[in-house]
């Protein structure tokens, strides 16, 4: 089952680096348990916002590893800025997390 997210955002040399972990099974739909296929269940959309402005929009397939970790970089940003990352999967489940740039 999808679970909590973890995020760390740091600003160094004028670039904000955002590292985010999403607890998610990322089932491919190809795997079988006791001969029965496990239905595909994976994150399809993710959105990264810095101070409320969308900076990265991602679309993903089942080929992203289980419990995905992404790193993004944004020019600018400063300590104390708000970062928000959200995702939506193929079953309509969604989650989001917020962090402050350190």
């Amino acid at each position: 089952m999808p679970g909590p997210m973890k995020m760390r955002a740091t600003n160094q040399g004028g670039v904000t680096e955002i590292r985010v972990l999403m607890a998610h099974p990322m089932e491919t739909g190809q795997r079988k348990v006791n001969g029965k296929p496990v239905p595909a269940h994976f994150i399809q959309n993710l959105t990264v916002k810095l101070n409320g402005k969308t900076v990265v929009e991602g679309q993903t397939s089942q080929a992203v590893s289980r419990n995905p970790v992404f790193t993004f970089r944004v020019k600018g940003g400063a300590k104390g800025d708000k970062v928000e990352v959200s995702w939506l999967d193929n079953e309509g489940e969604t989650n989001k997390t917020e962090a402050t740039v350190a």
């Binding site: 929009e57 992203v64 020019k75």
Partner: protein
């Protein structure tokens, strides 16, 4: 009675439509055609990148040999000026298109992501800039596949 019932149903229908719209709008941004493609050529076609030009300005950093195909770290940087998006395609995966990232508002054309690889394959990164596509390819050897059970 019938009129009241109709009104209630209409109201419920409108409410449901109103509630479902935001979700549908979000989901609609997933490129079903490209992600459902089973060959790299169709995947590239799906994202409009059939005519991608090989470029040294798109850089893939990844291991030469991945011991575990379930988690292959891939880092992509585009130095093509004006890069708006980066897509990742793994030629021999059942569904080659892995991800596509759009960058805006100061986001740098850079992404690091862990991917699954079913077997040894070429991995392509495709950057889009000024309506054109630029690609880099790297072969990654996989000793244990990451798609089966």
């Amino acid at each position: 009675m019938n009129a009241v019932r109709r009104l209630l149903l209409q109201g419920a229908g409108a409410l449901a439509a109103g509630l479902l719209t935001p979700l549908a709008a979000l989901a609609a941004t997933w490129n079903k055609e490209a992600f459902g493609a089973k060959t790299p050529a169709d995947a590239l076609k799906g994202i409009g990148a059939s005519a991608a030009t090989p470029s040294n300005d798109v850089i893939i950093e990844a291991p030469e040999i991945a011991e575990n195909g379930a988690v292959v770290p891939i880092e992509i940087t585009s130095q093509v000026p004006g890069t708006k998006s980066i897509a990742v395609v793994i030629d021999k995966n059942p569904f080659p298109l892995v991800a596509k990232f759009d960058f805006m508002e100061g986001a740098l054309p850079y992404v690091k992501v862990n991917v699954k690889m079913g077997e040894t394959s070429d991995v392509r990164a495709v950057a889009e800039a000024n309506g054109k596509h630029y690609s880099a390819t790297k072969n990654i050897k996989v000793t244990i596949g990451g798609c089966g059970g």
